[in-house]
């Protein structure tokens, strides 16, 4: 059917995503060749355990024990890097491939968040590119949307639910009134969370993904260190209940937005109005919203993880290369990307949900309100929950919803309130996105 020379792939890593990618290349080879006008052949493979049964044919592919040797030496046009990790063999293999002038397709957000600018320059110097649709939000084509579809837009804001583990835990806490610990355990039992869940639940995975979206959306150099990161382990069932009463859901969002002080990048639990598109996204599903000055708001929703969904994104990148579409790694040449001007979190402006445990003594609420006013914070609502049947309770929760203010003002007010001795424990602070 097709007389064009094949696009030759060297695949490094045959875990869930790698095995799914090869399986689909084997089963849909003809359809892909028709769609791209060119056959796609797996000419080399490397993985940790050659003997493991994966249900793959791999006929004709040259086996390499060392992915870096494969990247340098294999007869391939493209390295498909599905090993993972910011450094080690993944980085070595990607660098070797780029030095040899081969394109790279990768799902490795940690690698690009840490070394994106250097790798993009290495790619350019060797006439190659790096494609990474699979690195952010799994099967959702958000990289292509930002890199290509929004060409006529100045992006104002990107925000998203990019970690299925966190969204599953928050959805379940909300639906069943359970604690974070109980829902994390359930997520672990279902395989939605790792044995060590820190990377997911403390927001670092979302931050890596956000760093890549920021670069594409704003034409800036990847700068993951500039991201303010806060996870979901401190969110309580009471916060979810209060959010519900106030018309919000709590989501772990990664948000990057253009502000007067520069590009602000942050990851934290966020109160989202129930009517917002992102609030509808429950369970392990991911979603990304982009606001562009021309298009308005676009929201893309879909599976954020899983071998097959991620392989779908890997295959999208492979198909682009087969069709001859070779764009710069971050959408434009590296020397045209600007260094991100960090907008420090203390300057963040927005509404806040503050939950305090006030001691049940006269004047406590008045003190709280006074300290807020002293710091120029206007309150949209105050909700004091009674002691209910626990007449002996020494303290009661007070919920404050502020109008737009700054992080700095909120922190100053809370410091003063703590100093006044009218609250116990640490105040809960959750930012609000309208």
């Amino acid at each position: 059917m097709n007389h064009a020379s094949p696009l030759r792939l060297a695949i490094a890593g045959l875990g869930t995503v790698g095995a799914a990618t090869v399986k689909i290349l084997e089963s849909k080879g003809n359809a892909l060749a028709v769609a791209t006008g060119r056959p796609i052949a797996v000419t080399a493979v490397s993985a940790r355990d050659k003997a493991r049964e994966r249900g793959l044919t791999l006929g004709g592919a040259h086996w390499f024990d060392d992915p870096t040797a494969m990247a340098a030496e294999a007869e391939a046009d493209v390295l498909v890097e599905l090993i993972g990790g910011a450094d080690g063999p993944a980085k070595a293999a990607v660098e070797a491939a780029l030095r040899a002038g081969r394109h790279v397709v990768t799902a490795n957000k940690a690698l690009l968040a840490a070394h994106g600018p250097a790798l993009a320059r290495l790619a350019e110097a060797n006439g190659a590119t790096i494609l990474f649709e699979a690195a952010v939000a799994g099967g959702i084509p958000v990289i292509k949307a930002l890199r290509e579809s929004l060409a006529g837009n100045t992006v104002q804001r990107v925000s998203g639910i990019m970690n299925g583990t966190c969204n599953y835990i928050l959805s379940r806490m909300e639906a069943e009134g359970l604690t974070f610990a109980a829902c994390l355990k359930a997520a672990q039992e279902l395989g939605y969370a790792e044995a060590d869940p820190t990377f997911d639940v403390e927001g670092f995975d979302t931050a890596h993904k956000l760093a890549l979206l920021t670069a594409l959306a704003f034409g800036t150099e990847v700068d993951a260190d500039a991201i303010y990161v806060e996870g979901i382990s401190g969110v309580t069932p009471l916060d979810l209940k209060m959010a519900d009463e106030l018309g919000f859901r709590i989501k772990l969002l990664g948000v990057a937005e253009r502000t007067a002080g520069g590009i602000e990048q942050r990851v934290h639990p966020t109160m989202v109005p129930k009517t917002a598109q992102l609030a509808q996204v429950m369970g392990v599903t991911n979603a990304v919203s982009v606001i562009g000055d021309t298009v308005g708001e676009l929201t893309l929703v879909g599976p954020g993880a899983g071998g097959e969904a991620t392989a779908s994104a890997v295959l999208s990148d492979i198909a682009d290369l087969a069709r001859g579409t070779v764009l710069p790694t971050f959408g434009k040449a590296s020397d045209l990307l600007i260094k991100v001007n960090r907008a420090p979190m203390k300057r963040h402006e927005g509404g806040y949900y503050v939950r305090l445990q006030t001691l049940d003594k006269p004047g406590a609420a008045a003190t709280v309100a006074t300290r807020m006013a002293e710091n120029g914070i206007s309150l949209e609502s105050i909700l004091q929950k009674g002691r209910g049947q626990r007449a002996e309770a020494p303290s009661v929760p007070v919920i404050l919803i502020t109008y737009a203010t700054t992080e700095r003002a909120v922190r100053a007010a809370l410091k003063a309130i703590a100093h006044d001795g009218v609250i116990e424990g640490t105040p809960q602070v959750i930012r609000i996105e309208r």
Copy 2:
């Protein structure tokens, strides 16, 4: 900044979308050149009224009174066709441009729904392509998603809310309990509906868009005539109230899906579970969901109309051409597109909502249930609304929700019931999508 030769555009039509496109090209010229690596220049323009003030510079662009002459003669690489209409000047201009080997960027769904296969062949014969991101769902990048991002998928189903007028009317009927006529009037006053709303509210606009999505999703030749089309003018406030009680919303969906009998294409009011992504889409917003065997379900939500949002899609296509990405019109060469095997509506299988006005006489409900059973239809629920305070009412509404059955069986049962003389008026039938 840029020494590459410019991509030269001839723009036909300076209505809402055309004027917005030129305005953005004028204001974002530098950013676009950086992003695409090449300047973009408007070298020729044609519109009906040269004298009209549009707030555009248009410096240096050659004015043509006749768009077809411009398409044939202008010094341009691309015709941007924003005239509209399935025939007449739009078709003549597009054909002239393609014959001259120029690419075409268009927002014209009617033209492509009617003449897509012939125009795609003409483009191919002249080494050109037709890009039409703006023709479906305004600013939502669904064309690119289907053509490029889903390369590793066999698509099972595409469904979408692709007409903002209808979604606005249905959203408002639901929220306020108003009639179709009242909400149509409101939509007209707000500029969301035309003076003659037939094309929108009877589903034809959605059908044109669906025809294009079907071609891309299933690799078939555009065949708009194969689409079953039913509009929203027959939906009543009672149907929306019943939908709400049963856990559904009513949306005008365009649906194309792979069935045993071929590709089924249909546009009709649809009961969608409130928990579905498409059910969350209210007002003039559009959304398209795609189910692929590899990725699972993707949903893209955004503005479906408006000059700027549509211009964003036009600019996405222009940027692709500036970057040198030239793919076949419908994703693959025309001779590889298969003729769609029509799955006739009478074979459609699914659940149904049926609302009958049964005469208030003994045995009426039993007759209805018997006729359903005789046609092999299982009922999931029956809801009989009492006469309430209208003791004199000669008939009462009965709502049936069926398990999956065929259109043919439902029609046969309703014919028998009508023949039995136990109902008055025409039964309401609304298909259910789970």
